[in-house]
Homo-oligomer: 305 residues x 2
Amino acid sequence: MSRPDKAYPCHEEPADHVVEMAENRVLSSRSQTIADTLTRAIIDHRLVPGCKLGERELSEIFNVSRIVVRQALIRLADDGLAQIERNRGAFVAKPSMQEAMEIYDALTLVEQGVAAQLSDRLGPAGWAELRHHVERQRQAVAAGNHALADVLGQEFHTVFVRLSRNKVMQEIHAQLVRRTTLLRSLITADFDYCNLLDDHSRVVDLLEKGRLKQAMDLIDTHHRAVVRGYIMDREVFPEMTPAEALAPYLDGKTDGATVPVAPRKPANPSGNGGSTAHVHVHLPKINRAPTSRASTKKTNRGLPS
Amino acid sequence: MSRPDKAYPCHEEPADHVVEMAENRVLSSRSQTIADTLTRAIIDHRLVPGCKLGERELSEIFNVSRIVVRQALIRLADDGLAQIERNRGAFVAKPSMQEAMEIYDALTLVEQGVAAQLSDRLGPAGWAELRHHVERQRQAVAAGNHALADVLGQEFHTVFVRLSRNKVMQEIHAQLVRRTTLLRSLITADFDYCNLLDDHSRVVDLLEKGRLKQAMDLIDTHHRAVVRGYIMDREVFPEMTPAEALAPYLDGKTDGATVPVAPRKPANPSGNGGSTAHVHVHLPKINRAPTSRASTKKTNRGLPS
DNA sequence: AAATGTTGATTGGTATCCAATCTTGTGATT
DNA sequence: AATCACAAGATTGGATACCAATCAACATTT
């Protein structure tokens, strides 16, 4: 064992697989796929906070074994999107107001840091990309396309961070964004998009002029404005079973890598209209299918009022 | 069953378990414990990058089933400490130089953001705590206690982030610190501690005076100085089997005498010239003497955990 | 009616088995 | 002899069945 050449099974390759790992923290297949699908469903607000994610139920939905589901749930919990209680099961996370503020503070913090780095390092092409993005959102707002404006408003922050050219940071930021998206299931978003859009534009202006401190203050107030529009005391009621909520993502083959951002189902056989590309939870009331075998029993978990 | 209040299982509890979750995102027991142990072993450099983490082998070491080990490995991979290749297995991550720089950049970014927030919000007690910590490290350096100085130098960053009072951010930062610790298995740390200590002190000074931009620049150059001292082309050879590496962390039995971290003789093989001199692992000060119980019970205070 | 067992359901975990894939070693071919 | 191809072994990913612990709801008793 003291031989340096064959001391112990040591996997070594120069830089090939390292690169591909840097691109994506990929690993297995199914548990990751299922975790991605559940993440998608959560940030699409089809699975609302507090909703129980039973292992058996999910394993039947996805047609996999319970163990694969559990591995996926572990991922979700590590991402802060689910919460696992010992011997009780997994639930979609229901962050407290305190945690919501921490998430937004972390987001503020990250974007302030990105701003600081960009103010030093970003080249003209980067500034142009930011301005272009702001312009696109402005046009969407002008056209009255609220949905698109909303998506672009989110995307601005992602583009902003991507310009740091740091995949590690992008992953951290993406995780925070997912958690903020989860928060929207619990809050009433009621703020002025034009104000936020102006903020984006002004941040770019300030940064390009080197007025870093002011830009960072604006980022802070920007996020504070978002949080201020939030009210956490809203009660959310799951209106669908997980099976129904996840149905749009299971087109035939579970092999499909990742469902696109807008789960548009052109040929959805079952009625279930109105599920396309919804960002907010205004799902139609669904008459409970009497076919669900255990729906009568497992459904009733205390939800007062 | 059409009652809206009992629509579907919705887990709800006011705020109790939320708090405990924020404090501790732990879930099961064994897979988390094993993931923690592996993490500990990796950041202690007992498991070096590239080392294979076979499921069967680990399951025998920990006396658990393979599935539990796999769940732990998934956690490690999500944390960036391991790398899973399909049908090939898990290995301790071997970050590329590119990724190393990204990790340090992310760390810089986070700490710059923290600095920005602290410069606005931190009270006198917070500044005092920072100064006290710097002073402790200064005394350690003066006393020639390099090991303690190193630990304190690490800890400064953790304390710094903790003052933001944001658990989400703390967790992100802790993860980044773990990954930087992993990097030390691949690099030769060869920098001047006094300089870094001065940096800490000056950052506190600048921040308290409101000179945010300068403080952030200093944070940047601070981390760049650390990275500059790094050389990634070193080859690391596992000198222990995972069983040997993990033995000190297993319950009860601690044959402390037989497992020092760097048992490899500095008998630098004269062959090999100097090109890719795979000098033996000159572990910096972290190599504390494996006093029996101290190493058994995870000394979570020593390094950010 | 309140307190207290009892039972069912769900999770955490183990063992065993199987399929797919990767590695390795041997053998045939040029 | 060197190289290529193929087969055997090993390892991972996953499925299934099973057991123990725990929690929740129900039923019983005082």
